[in-house]
Symmetry: C2
Subunit: 452 residues, 2 copies
């Protein structure tokens, strides 16, 4: 195993479940100090909702070792020699390098944060939040630095979550965002709802803006973030620009990469053209079942599924990954944000002509206490009426409602078929017409109108 | 329209949307004083969460009349003359009877509460909760009666919700239940979780017990509920035993009824064998897509859908009802209870051999604040692995998770196909493996084991 986080260690654990230590020797190389941690939990740890780092570790090195996995921390694989079936690894503390041969190889090298080549980007006070070490360093900076001004670069999931975390810590937060609205994983009309909620929290959103430089003070620490025609003072800067597949090793070894830089695998998560090499998690590309194209979707839930599948196959069983439909949920304060399937631009890019509807509904029966507004955007294919995507922004109960659409996308349902889905109804849970059904009904009607 | 509640008035409104008053005259007969009210909201009104009766009325008589519907309240249809295409109706206040002829007839007579023929059942202080008038009478009794002991007969949705409502009003509540556990819509192992929550609220649950008599005092009012070998003192008694289709008129007119006493319709919600008569809502039986058998499922959400379909067809359009999968959600205090598809006994009755799993998971990532336990029971067909049913009991986020299974049932997915569904994941919403996925994975594994 190269990499001992979600995908790698799920694979190791599952393979061990199927094959005991007598049958299968498992060696896992990890350049960091932690295993199986929840990167998605880092914003909540920084924000104070999760009390400590250990809570984010699903399984410790000791627990893995107790299950018969030879785990080598602070040991970085520096080369994959596919022809001879071996990897070279360096112990980071001693510098010692050794070759280890394998019968089966699992590549789970994850992703690396995008770090634009800007002047000052490496200055003290500028932080990524990809690993537990990153999180700890950020928390140390926050504890040491008296100032209370923060700039977050990027307004995707991580950027938005980090902005809220810093608000929770008492910071004045500015988010600098290249896109028209935050959450570019949504269409801009839905992203606008997110911006309003962020502004409601006191976050300053600066959209349509590229960072040009990180400015430092006389002490060499960050003091501001510069954009084309302005400067935003900053005692701390958090980079939340996104991640790219970490496939340097794989590329050097000549393994097949896709257009997003991720490894390409078959359904069994084997690297294409290689019988005995598997890859999963943030370093691979996955098939988007709606567009029919490959995407990079770095999410812990996929990494865990990949690991499960790889471990099953490497352990002599059979499992396959069907692909994704592009589901993601997030939260800013009490605003829940969800999407699945294609946005308008994705549909166009995939060659799919579409009808779009946006409906306003409520989370519960209108008369039931706590009913809150919910906006549902739905895309259906022109003429066939096949569901193409759903975006939902609302409060309690909005986020996981997207699962209805995720299953419908998987099953290839049309919006007409969705109109009378038998969804759970009771006043504390939904209006008699669930917001997703209201959207489906309207979308079906639009498909019919534009077909005739 | 016979009946001006959810199904009837949805039909009227939809037909009116398609056909103006010049094209289509709509007459709606309603024996009660209200239209389009939410019967499902009554427990929350009695419990005090919904401030007043008017909040439960989705659309008032005046609003319907303003849309060109000739609404006749306190007017009961007493006969359907199918041969001559007319109905006889009696104005309840004056006693006047008149015949009205129709080109198209919609039967939306709803359901009537089961009222066992027990001694004392009609005594003052014994209440049903089917209509707004029922709710008002119960509230009047509660206001007038100094005692604070209540007995609820029946432990289905209504019984359980009414028990909680009375607890909220400061009553000592005993629930007398014929079944082994409350919520017979769940298997007993899941119902036990509901019982524990009810007992946690201070409700006394008496299971496996039939009421034999309602005992009255010298003033003629209820004073206790008797069972075979005990008496439970009661200042008020609420009947929540369930409902039956109200099809007296339809039966007298020779229209086709099913084994549960509900009207039988075709896909377009037309009464079978009758081109110009439609029926929908609580007075019809619906096709259960999982068992392939007809059931009586009195739920406001179906009534609204039926009304929509009937109004579309009667207005010259085209819409069909696909059937149900048996989804229902409910709440006791903060416990959420959900089911869809078949219980174990339903599966046996339908001739479906099944595998069953029960898993314990959590509503959110374990480390995220507010993560709470969730129990998911899943049934899959033996050998094919087709999903047959899901029951979920948990706290926040448990109830609507059942929609995942509702869509999967509609699409005919197997539990193997469900294992890698791309469901929304983020720490505030779900563990990396959603509880439904955990159950699917385990069920798939069991199906494989028992097939080989």
């Amino acid at each position: 195993m190269i990499g001992a986080d979600a995908a790698g260690m799920s694979a190791a654990s599952q393979a061990r479940r199927l094959r005991g230590p007598d049958e299968l020797e498992i060696v896992a190389f990890e350049r960091g100090r932690f295993t199986s941690f929840s990167a998605c939990g880092i914003p909540y740890w920084v924000g104070g909702q999760v009390p400590d780092r250990d809570a984010l570790v699903a399984r410790t090195p000791e627990e893995h070792r107790a299950r018969g996995i030879d785990l080598r921390l602070r040991t970085e694989v520096t080369e994959i020699d596919v022809a001879r079936g071996r990897v070279r690894a360096r112990e980071l503390d001693s510098g010692t390098e050794t070759w280890t041969s394998y019968d089966k190889l699992v590549i789970a090298t994850g992703a690396r944060p995008v770090r634009p080549a800007l002047p000052g980007i490496d200055a003290p006070g500028v932080h990524g939040v990809q690993t537990l070490d990153d999180g700890q360093e950020l928390l140390d900076t926050l504890a040491r630095t008296p100032g209370r001004r923060a700039v977050v670069v990027g307004a995707g999931y991580i950027g938005v979550e980090m902005a809220e975390a810093l608000i929770n810590r008492g910071y004045r937060v500015t988010v600098v965002n290249r896109g028209r609205e935050p959450m570019a994983t949504l269409d801009a009309d839905m992203g606008r709802l997110v911006r309003r909620a962020m502004e409601g929290l006191g976050i300053t959103m600066v959209n349509d803006t590229e960072v040009t430089e990180v400015l430092t003070g006389e002490d060499g620490r960050v003091r501001a973030v510069a954009v084309r025609d302005a400067e935003f003072p900053a005692d701390v800067v958090v980079l939340g620009i996104g991640v790219r597949p970490e496939t340097t090793l794989a590329q050097a070894a000549g393994l097949p990469l896709g257009e997003h830089g991720g490894l390409l695998t078959d359904r069994a998560m084997r690297v294409r053209g290689h019988e005995n090499i598997w890859a999963g998690g943030d370093c691979v590309e996955v098939l988007d079942l709606v567009s029919g194209q490959y995407r990079h979707v770095p999410l812990g839930t996929h990494a865990n599924k990949h690991g499960q599948i790889i471990g099953t196959n490497a352990g002599g069983g059979y499992a396959t990954f069907p692909g994704v439909v592009g589901t993601a949920v997030s939260k800013v304060c009490d605003l829940e944000i969800a999407r699945t399937g294609l946005r308008e631009k994705d549909a166009r890019r995939a060659g799919l002509r579409h009808e779009t509807v946006v409906v306003e509904s409520t989370s519960r029966a209108g008369y039931y206490p706590g009913a809150s507004p919910m906006t549902v955007k739905m895309l259906a294919e022109h003429r066939t009426g096949r569901l193409l995507g759903v975006q939902i922004v609302g409060r309690e109960g909005a986020g996981k409602r997207v699962d209805i659409a995720a299953v419908a996308l998987t099953a290839g349902l049309t919006v007409e078929q969705m109109t009378f889905l038998d969804l759970g109804y009771a006043p504390p849970f939904s209006p008699v017409w669930d917001p997703v059904l209201v959207a489906a009904r309207k979308a079906a009607s639009k498909v019919r109108e534009n077909t005739s």
